[in-house]
C-alpha cells in the first residue's frame, strides 16, 4: 500500500485503536503492570485502574459496575452468556431461541449446544433482516430458558427491536441476551431502558484494542462460569486481567458513547452520499438490510452478475479496504447466511459488497470510492458469463 491512498471502509470488521486510547494504555504494560490480585502499591493501582474502566463500561450502557464482567472479546461474551445460561438452567429446560442472522459467535455456540442435547430455534427474518416479534412470542415455550437476538447485524447493519424482544422475554420469564458488539458507539444502548439481562460488547469495534470485551450480567441472573480458575471478576471470570486492554476498553467506550450522536449523524450522511452515488452510477444494484433502521456506517449492496471477492481484490488494488458476504476467505463456498436469510439468491449473495464507514472517512473518501467502484463492477461484469447471458436475453427481447 505504500505511498498509495488507503480508504478504510471495513470498520465493522475492526477499527483502529484511537491514538489517545493507546496513549492511555501504555503505562500499564511496563510501569503500572502490577497484578491486581496482589496487595502492594502497584497492584492496588492496577485494581483502581480496573475499577475505573469497569465504571466507564457500566456508565456507557447504564449498568452498575458490579454487573460488568470483563472478557477477551465479543466471542467469549457470547459464548459465556449462551453456554452459561444453558448449563446453569438445563434442568429447567433445554430450549434456546435465536435468530437466523446472528454472528457466528452466537450461531456456532448454539449449534454446539444442539450437539449437547439442547434444542435451538432459529427465527427467520424479513427481507430487511428484522425478526418478527410475534414469531418470537410464538416460539417461546415452557422449556425455553434463553433468547438471544443481536442489537445490530454486522453484515447488513439492520437494527433489531431488542427492547420489544426483551419485553416479551420478561413477560414470559425467559432470559434475554443481546449481542451488542456492533451497536456500541453507533446507536444508543441502555440495558435498563431496553431491559436486557445479558449483553455482549467488544472494544475493537469502537476504537479500543482487540482481544478485550465485556459481558453485562444483570444482577440476579444466574449462569455457569465459562472460564474457571482464580477469583478475578467477582469470581466469575478467571485469568490474570488484561490490564492495558481493560484500561483501553474503558477509555474507548467512554469516548465512543460520548461522541455517539455526532458519529451517527456524520456517518449517516456519508452513507447516504455513498449509496445514492452508487445507485446513480451503477445498474443492477440491490441495497441489503433495512433502508433506515440500520447502523449509521453500514452500507451493504449486491451487484448482480459478479462475485464479491473479485471486487475486493480490485478495490484493494485501488486502495479501498472493504468486505463481502461472498465465501472468499471463510473456507466455505456458501455465501453469507445473513444474505441468504433475507432471501437473496446465491449468485446475488455472492455479489455483495459491505462498506462500513468510520471515524477516518471523509466525503473525499466516499467520492473516491464512487470513482473507483463503477469501472471495477464494469470490468467484472465484462468477464462474467452471467452478465453475457443477461445481455443476450435483453437483446433477444
Amino acid at each position: 500500500m505504500t505511498g498509495r491512498r488507503l480508504v478504510y471502509m471495513d470498520h465493522a470488521a475492526t477499527t483502529p485503536a484511537a491514538p489517545e486510547i493507546v496513549e492511555a494504555m501504555l503505562p500499564y504494560f511496563t510501569e503500572r503492570f502490577g497484578n491486581p490480585s496482589s496487595i502492594y502499591g502497584i497492584a492496588r493501582e492496577s485494581k483502581a485502574a480496573i475499577d475505573t474502566a469497569r465504571e466507564q463500561v457500566a456508565h456507557a450502557i447504564n449498568a452498575s459496575p458490579e454487573e460488568i464482567y470483563i472478557t477477551s472479546g465479543g466471542t467469549e461474551s457470547d459464548n459465556w452468556a449462551i453456554k452459561g445460561v444453558a448449563y446453569a438452567h438445563r434442568k429447567r429446560g433445554k430450549r434456546i431461541i435465536t435468530s437466523a442472522i446472528e454472528h457466528h459467535a452466537v450461531l456456532h455456540t448454539c449449534q454446539y449446544l444442539e450437539r449437547q442435547g439442547f434444542e435451538v430455534t432459529y427465527l427467520p427474518v424479513d427481507e430487511f433482516g428484522r425478526v418478527s416479534l410475534s414469531a418470537l412470542a410464538d416460539a417461546i415455550t415452557d422449556e425455553t430458558i434463553l433468547v438471544s437476538i443481536m442489537a445490530a447485524n454486522n453484515e447488513i447493519g439492520t437494527l433489531e427491536p431488542i427492547a420489544d424482544c426483551a419485553r416479551i422475554c420478561r413477560e414470559r420469564g425467559v432470559y434475554f441476551h443481546t449481542d451488542a458488539v456492533q451497536a456500541i458507539g453507533s446507536v444508543p444502548v441502555d440495558v435498563r431502558a431496553q431491559d436486557v439481562d445479558l449483553l455482549s460488547l467488544s472494544a475493537h469495534k469502537f476504537y479500543g484494542p482487540k482481544g478485550i470485551g465485556a459481558l453485562y450480567i444483570r444482577k440476579g441472573v444466574r449462569l455457569d462460569n465459562l472460564l474457571h480458575g482464580g477469583s478475578q471478576e467477582q469470581r466469575h471470570r478467571a485469568g490474570t486481567e488484561n490490564l492495558a486492554g481493560i484500561v483501553g476498553m474503558g477509555a474507548a467506550i467512554e469516548r465512543a458513547v460520548g461522541r455517539q450522536e455526532e458519529y451517527a449523524r456524520r456517518l449517516t450522511s456519508l452513507r447516504k452520499r455513498l449509496l445514492s452515488g452508487i445507485m446513480e452510477r451503477i445498474e443492477h444494484v440491490r441495497l441489503n438490510g433495512h433502508p433506515t433502521e440500520r447502523l449509521p456506517g453500514n452500507l451493504n449492496c449486491s451487484f448482480e452478475f459478479i462475485e464479491g471477492e473479485g471486487m475486493l481484490l480490485l478495490l484493494d488494488h485501488a486502495g479501498v479496504a472493504a468486505s463481502t458476504g461472498s465465501a472468499c476467505t471463510s473456507g466455505s463456498l456458501e455465501p453469507s447466511h445473513v444474505l441468504l436469510a433475507i432471501g437473496l439468491e446465491h449468485a446475488t449473495a455472492h455479489g455483495s459488497l459491505r462498506l462500513t464507514l468510520g471515524e477516518s472517512n471523509t466525503e473525499a473518501d466516499v467520492d473516491y470510492v464512487l470513482e473507483a467502484l463503477p469501472p471495477i463492477v464494469e470490468r467484472l461484469r465484462t468477464m462474467s458469463p452471467l452478465y453475457a447471458d443477461y445481455r443476450r436475453s435483453c437483446n433477444v427481447q
Binding site: E307, S326, T329, L333, E334, H346, P385, L386
Partner: protein, 143 residues
C-alpha cells in the same frame, strides 16, 4: 493469501472474452457455489487455435481460467485434455487449499468444451480418468 502469479493473472487475465461461433463451449460450476466458468474453443487441425473464457468467481477462479487457457492455447486437443488441475495450480505458484477447486473447475471446463467440440464433430466423447477430482459434487459446495 494469493501468490504474485495469481494476482498477476487476476489483474491481467489472458484470453478473457467470448469467441463468436466457437467450435466448442463448456460451462461448469454453479451460482450457488459462487463460481461459473465458460470456455470457448476455436479448433483447427485438431489444435486449439484460439481459446477464450468468461468467469463469474473469485480471484483464484479468474486466475485459473486465465492460466488454463494460456496453457492449452496452440496445443492439440489431446494435450489440452491432459492438462490437470494440479498443473494449473502449480503454474500459478500454488493456490490456497480452499481455492484448489478453482483449478479443478478450469480442468472440467476445458474437458467440457472439448467434448462439446467432439459432439459437434460427430465424434465419441472422451471419458474422464477414473478418480478425477470434481469441483462441486452434486451441486453441494463442499471443498
Amino acid at each position: 493469501m494469493y501468490s504474485e502469479k495469481v494476482m498477476e493473472h487476476f489483474m491481467n487475465p489472458r484470453n478473457q472474452g467470448e469467441i463468436e461461433n466457437p467450435d466448442g463451449v463448456g460451462e461448469v460450476g454453479n451460482p450457488k457455489c459462487g463460481d461459473i466458468m465458460k470456455i470457448f474453443l476455436k479448433v483447427k487441425d485438431d489444435r486449439i487455435e484460439d481459446v477464450q473464457f468468461q468467469t463469474f468467481g473469485c480471484g483464484a477462479a479468474v486466475a485459473s481460467s486465465s492460466m488454463a487457457t494460456e496453457l492449452i492455447k496452440g496445443k492439440t486437443l489431446e494435450e489440452a485434455w491432459d492438462l490437470s488441475n494440479k498443473a494449473v495450480a502449480e503454474a500459478l505458484g500454488g493456490l490456497p487449499p480452499v481455492k484448489m477447486h478453482c483449478s479443478v473447475l478450469a480442468e472440467e471446463g476445458i474437458h467440457k468444451a472439448i467434448n462439446d467440440y467432439r459432439v459437434k464433430q460427430g465424434l465419441e466423447l472422451w471419458k474422464e480418468k477414473p478418480g478425477a477430482s470434481h469441483a462441486h459434487a452434486d451441486d453441494a459446495c463442499e471443498i
